[in-house]
Amino acid sequence: MTDTATTTKTEAPRSQWADVWDQFRTHRGAMIGAAFFVFICLLVTFGPMLWTLEPNYIDIRAKNQGPSMAHPFGTDQLGRDTFAQVLAGGRVSLLVGVTAMLLALFLGTLVGVVAGYFKRLDSPLMRLTDLFLALPILPLLLVIIMLFRDTLRAAFGPETGIFILVVSVIGITSWMHTARIVRGDVLSLKEQEFVLAARSIGTPSRRMILRHILPNVMSPIMVSATLGIATAIITESAISFLGLGFPSDFPTWGRLLSDSTNFMTLNPERVIWPGLAISLTVLSVNYIGDGLRDALDPRIRGR
């Protein structure tokens, strides 16, 4: 804030987000994480355009090969190109991660804000949250997938149907923590004087939430967003391992990893690539979360 009093030139507006970015930039882990995450997103988005090998193309003569010029990541037991599969799998895994996170975030924020803001809805909504928290997630997830797989498959096709299912199941079962955090923040925000100030102006609830509450709960939301991506990717891999996810010829990182564990001693690099992809993505996203948490913490950022 330096010499605001003496400057007379045109204002140099500095948004909070610029500050956040400045602080974020100083967190080395977070920067590396963000760079890697962007890199991996670009890679899986545009990679398949450059690396045009079909992930499902079987070249049985080239099975179980190590890395080579033709197959930089080697091939699997049917001679499919691991690199192409990791790219294709990454698309799905990241898409699942991001979409499920967005869904969970949307639900969590909605419930959290409404519960925190409207006193009368607080108790029922939080009971609902407790209820969801009390539901054993993985078992229920499995049951739900068993139940609705075919309906959705019939309606949207095998891939889209399962995608919708996996994403919504992960989303629906992981919004509660966000809701709790957001509610807590909203409750304390509500006591903040600027909200009181807005009320004394007569700002109606809708605008109050959009203008004052939501922008100020963005930070916990962003942090849970990063964690949400990581959790969703891991959960998808668990579902894949238990054989309830996407069709068998539809690669995801989780499936590639679980398929290749049996080849671990025979063909170690096959395990390494999807394993590395999952770990590094989760790691980078976690580091981004860490950096964001620091960057959004006013105590640290303040000065």
Binding site: L135, L142, V143, T261
Partner: protein, 337 residues
Amino acid sequence: MLNYTLRRLMFSIPVLLFISFIIFLILDLAPSDPTGNLPLTIPPEVREKIRESLGLGQPMPVRYYKWCVQFFVNEPLNIWDQYWGTCSFGCEDRLRVVSYVTRSPVVDLIVQRMPQTLWVVGMSYVVGILIAIPIGVISAYKQYSWFDQTGTFVSMVGFSVPPFFSGVLVIIIFSVQLGWFPSIYDTTLKVVSWDTFMLQVRQMVMPVMVLALQTTAQISRFMRASMLDNLNQDYVRTARAKGMKESVVLLVHVLRNSLIPVITVIALGIPAVFGGAIITEQVFKVNGIGQLLIIGIQGGDAPLVQTLTFIFAVMIVMANLVADIMYGILDPRIRYD
């Protein structure tokens, strides 16, 4: 405190009933038919008879009521009778919750599975916490040091590696290559002597390791954050101003305060660990609760799945309660009237 506990306990009854109803509802939608596993040669009339005997012909609320009676009345009575060797309220024709697939009472199956799950999952949790807390403390105290950075990295890797991968990896390293530990968990082993105890320890090492990695990863992060919060507090400065040693400041003043939120996380994590152990149980053939559940789900064994998921729900609700009570005990500021 007592009031609070009682109130929470009482409140948990409708919650649990409601949860059980939801679980019942979800499973009711499932396409699994208990007679589906009967041989195909059984004529339809007989099949129908069997369905009726299982209460399947009746409307949903009736079936739910029947299940409730079986689970909340008959099963506890049965445990009572088994324990005391008595026979109260007509123990002969008491209807029990019976698995569709194995035809044995679900509760017996669960009781059979409990020991190994408790051994492995419980131990891994304890081990994980014991490792996590010092890591969290040191990481926070030496924030941004190499130890902190390494700890952060390792715990995030631990969080990001799926157990079906790390499990197989440790099997290949420690069972196949080194031959130190068995890769298959022996559920029939009874600890009666030092040797059997060592056997038990050896067969637990790997699953405990894999599970503890995840626990450690999460709890050490919480511990670190909580320590960091507290290290900036005024009372820490007071303790230093009193001339207390750094070790006392850290391990007495800060640790106790930092543990309060972490205890909650630990208590709330218990059910998740049980649920999350499903994959680890598969990998090491521990055949505990998790594996039972998977089999139940795959086999369409509704009573089994329902009872198990409900038990998970009970555990979560109880863990919540314990967490809150622990909170009150550890933090004298919290006094639930």
